[in-house]
Point group: D2
Chain length 351, copies 4
């Protein structure tokens, strides 16, 4: 941490700051320029509370140097983290595709979708049993019944299941039914939930909040990692900006930036990131081209009848076409779509 | 809801949309312009799922007409909602001031602050026992011990207490100790929590998420109201924008806009909205001038020793000055600072 | 400037950076922490190109220390800058109010408005002769004819005139007709225009771009100041954010922040900042409460017939009411509305 | 345009609005719902001033239906616009790559870069002679001398030249030296400049402003097109958001969205969109995968010595690698990198 003094700070103010730095068990290092003095507070890498200096007389501002996350950083773990999900490696050479409806609406809808996405080559099934909805009057999901339907779809298709968890109490139940717990964008900073997911030791997909910085996403991952749960994948799903032609703005920069900052797998959700099925395939291609490790995509057999997010869902036939295009992009950058349960050739030889 | 068809939509596509509108129990109303057809879906005011039309062939876009919230709207309840808090009216003629430290750090710190803010003329005491922190390594609050200290401060000073609740399970415990439950910005769309707070029937302060629109804030209030809990006050606390000279951007427009859209009391948190004590008083004045019903302000006896948010906390002597200035502004617009337990004259005669 | 080295930077990389710092005529100051080395580049206060270091091996990032503007800073000129405008001090104790229509539409409209705002107590008349419009098909202003009408209004009412200038070539003509040149939000970073306005030595009102930071606004002011033109006032007019209930988001924080960073007068435009006449008066009050030195407000005798921005224009009778309310706020903070040509008592004694 | 009346609008208010609609030569179409009345104003497709209704008693809000741009729309011109640039088709099957330094610094630097980018397979040379800089104290470009150096580089390499124009007066001079005029992000809404570029009939590259919506970009293109100049290409270069890990946020959604809304060629600038050379190649790949027609990339032989934007410039050897990767992506989606003057095989057969 660097403490930048004001240009008119007097000697006694500088001394007081230095004293406090040393009182906190840190080493103070002075640098006197023509205009002002800068005090470096050198420690053992643990974060220091900058607010404790911000208020002191003569202090202009504080510049943090050490990144506030550790376990999530690539410096801590230079190798890519890879974890297996029912035979498929998340974060490995092969691109992983998770697909399914926004919400589990009923047994027939989910099973039809599950079979369709499996045949198309998906590696996992998504579907919400608990739905965070802006309106108290909207469909809130089937709850445990939805989880049971998901389990049935897994039994039928063999696809691992991923579903959202909304409260700490739901964690044990969701772990029982699902292979991966999803933490939704609105809950990215629900620290009680992150804590519980961390303690569960169950694989987690952490979605970036629509107004969260990349650093905050990594801090939320750190919450989970700090409880010993290392099976975390991150998901870019679009951020909120002034542009509203699309539902969200896909932060495509976040893909290579995250891959440089963290060892965790990074996937992209082109459905929420665009909010419009017409643009989903183009953004899915862009995500893989930029270096994403996978995709999570909304697929619905009859989007026009969906109880939520129909407008951004692909029909199964369009999803087939999306996988074909994504596969071509994957090969162009020396990767491939991971081999799927459907046994479809994805046109690439696994190394 | 209006369904705007594409300019090249054909007759059969229009017919299919009209059919679906009627299948949903709504009345369809066609308007054919030179360029395109617009279909109005006229119902009983209940929200309709626009996604169900977005995907239909020939549809360009959907324009919602009915606001998605009802109980929170001024149309539903034209009179200002006023609710008493230990003798003070929230949302009435008098400005209400809530003050205290960001976090309850220990007994001495809280009691000292409680006495100081009472003497300065505050109407309620704030202080966090459960703290949502970006970093898992930061001070997370004292938990129930913090609640006990708050209760002790109430017993000593007579000030009602307001504190944050982070999970549905904490609701009963927090209700037991606190007069008002605060829902923090990061939990504004934690729907499970909103549900529990709604069912508790306990007064609530709902902070706007840093990424939430005014409409989303009202939708979250609607969650609480729809469970029959009508004692809800809203709090603007700054939004996230590209400007980062200040911690957040105070959305001062939100004050008159909210007052026109809803009957609920609206207060402002100048501490988070600026992130810097130097600007807190100016923004507190602006909030009251713009029509806010109250303020929630961070006050700490030794901000430079605070375990969180010290940089945005006022010292007690500055808080005294802030109340004096806010009182002058209140009078300039024909209001006053509500009479306080300290019995201080605020320079205004209550009408 | 501080050069933060990567944690794995090697000795030779550090040496190379130090060498370059010294080659640039600066002094290098090393600070070796547990984790990494920081190199301070200490100079004479002139800005250094940080990009020249960003690319060097081993460099993590650059932290600028010296602010990039000088003449605009309060450190350079601790006293408030005050400049007279036809008998009224801009930036002094008295609040200055500039009012008039968005655009000069015709002689009758402007003269009627000019008389109305004068009688209400305005100190200057605004009106656009050159209009920057998003659409090439919208009314683009009357051009020089509009300037002539403005001059006529000044002759009739005695009010000084302020109008927008859009290109460097228009500068001499606009100077000839207007007392103050306005640089619009979309031209805040039109550096050729800033250069010409700087050289003109004519008073200027510089509006903040809707997506410009406070620092960028001050850098644009620096362009004008650096040509020796010191009569510059700054104008907050709302920024673009994700919130779109209002046309823009008033950055009320910018008022006290600018007053702390610069000696230049700061005014606010509540018409553009809200985009809705219903909220103009509340935001005008807030601006003065927050410390603004003045207001620029759109007033139109028949807003529903205005060729542009009618929805955010006040009718003359509402403008009268706005001044009364602003005057009460001004007194509450120990200021007043400056005495006007209309000779109206504004209820305050000039100190 | 739809005029949404308030729920409590009375009959006479509705009548007055209808009257005005008809007075404007439009047809009024009433739709009376349970809650409120909606009035459609049906015309000949010309934009109507919505502000003229916003102020009327009983009016709640206005919903525009007709898009405000026409010549730029895909509805107006369903086929992709393609225009030749010295033998290469912009907007055709082949991807076009424009490369060069941010600024022309001197003869040696530009010629070295020009040869390097030509050999790597670029189709055009970029380089700024007039530089918009945030600081008045930064290098402002060589002006006409820079244009002469660009012309010399064209004579030597045969590459067409693209350079920025900042004011209307510079247009004739820049047309004389350059093959394509660039309108920079800060000037996207400099309407006087757009007007002059439109009248010049010279090819133009229009960069999206960092704060401009997609619709505003198309409105600015409309300014140029409306003067009969049809050779316009659009450039996404990143927008400003709350995320500041990268210099800007690449709005990758804008690529497929623009391709669906307009017939004009769309390219992307990964250098400004990321601000960091490490991420340029990944975002270049993503842009092509998303459907962009080309790229404009900063290349500098010695980025660490660049007078501007060194940190985001690729070294020539990295640029060679970028083209190879982009070429593989282009093939994966059935396109190719256009044949270049360097005669390099780009691994694709032109159809």
């Amino acid at each position: 941490m660097l403490i930048i003094m004001k240009t008119d700070a007097i000697e006694s103010q500088i001394d007081t700051v230095v004293q406090r730095v040393e009182d906190m068990g840190l080493r103070a290092h002075l640098s006197k320029g023509e205009e002002r003095t800068i005090i470096g507070a050198i420690g053992d890498g643990r974060p220091v509370m900058k607010d404790q200096f911000l208020y002191m007389p003569g202090v202009d501002r504080i510049v943090p140097i050490t990144r506030p996350f550790k376990l999530a950083s690539r410096e801590f773990s230079p190798q890519d983290s890879v974890f297996p999900l029912d035979g498929v490696d998340i974060g490995g050479q092969g691109i992983v595709i998770i697909a399914g409806p926004c919400a589990v609406e009923n047994r027939a809808q989910l099973l039809e979708t599950a079979h369709a996405v499996k045949e198309a080559g998906a590696h996992a099934l998504r579907g919400g049993a608990y739905k965070p909805r802006t309106s108290p009057y909207s469909f809130q999901g089937l709850g445990e019944e939805g989880l049971q339907i998901l389990a049935e779809a897994r039994a039928e298709t063999g696809l691992p299941v991923i579903t959202e968890v909304m409260t700490p109490e739901q964690v044990p139940l969701v772990c029982q039914y699902a292979d991966v717990m999803q933490i939704g964008a609105r809950n990215m900073q629900n620290y009680s939930l992150l804590h519980s997911v961390g303690e569960s030791q169950h694989p987690a997909l952490l979605k970036r909040g629509m107004m969260a910085t990349i650093e905050e996403l990594l801090m939320s991952a750190e919450y989970i990692l700090s409880h010993g749960n290392r099976r975390v994948m991150l998901c870019e799903r679009g951020i909120r900006t002034f542009e509203n032609t699309t539902r969200n703005t896909t932060d495509i920069n976040a893909i290579p930036v995250l891959k440089s900052m963290t060892h965790l797998p990074v996937i992209l959700d082109p459905s929420h990131a665009t909010g419009n099925w017409e643009f989903v395939t183009a953004i899915a291609r862009a995500a893989i081209a930029a270096g994403a490790d996978g995709l999570i995509v909304e697929v619905h057999p009859s989007p026009e009848l969906a109880l939520s997010d129909g407008g951004q869902s692909l029909k199964p036939e369009r999803f087939v076409e999306m996988i074909a295009q994504v596969s071509a992009i994957a090969q162009a950058i020396g990767r491939c779509v991971a081999p799927s349960k459907a046994g479809l050739s994805t046109g690439c030889v696994h190394v």
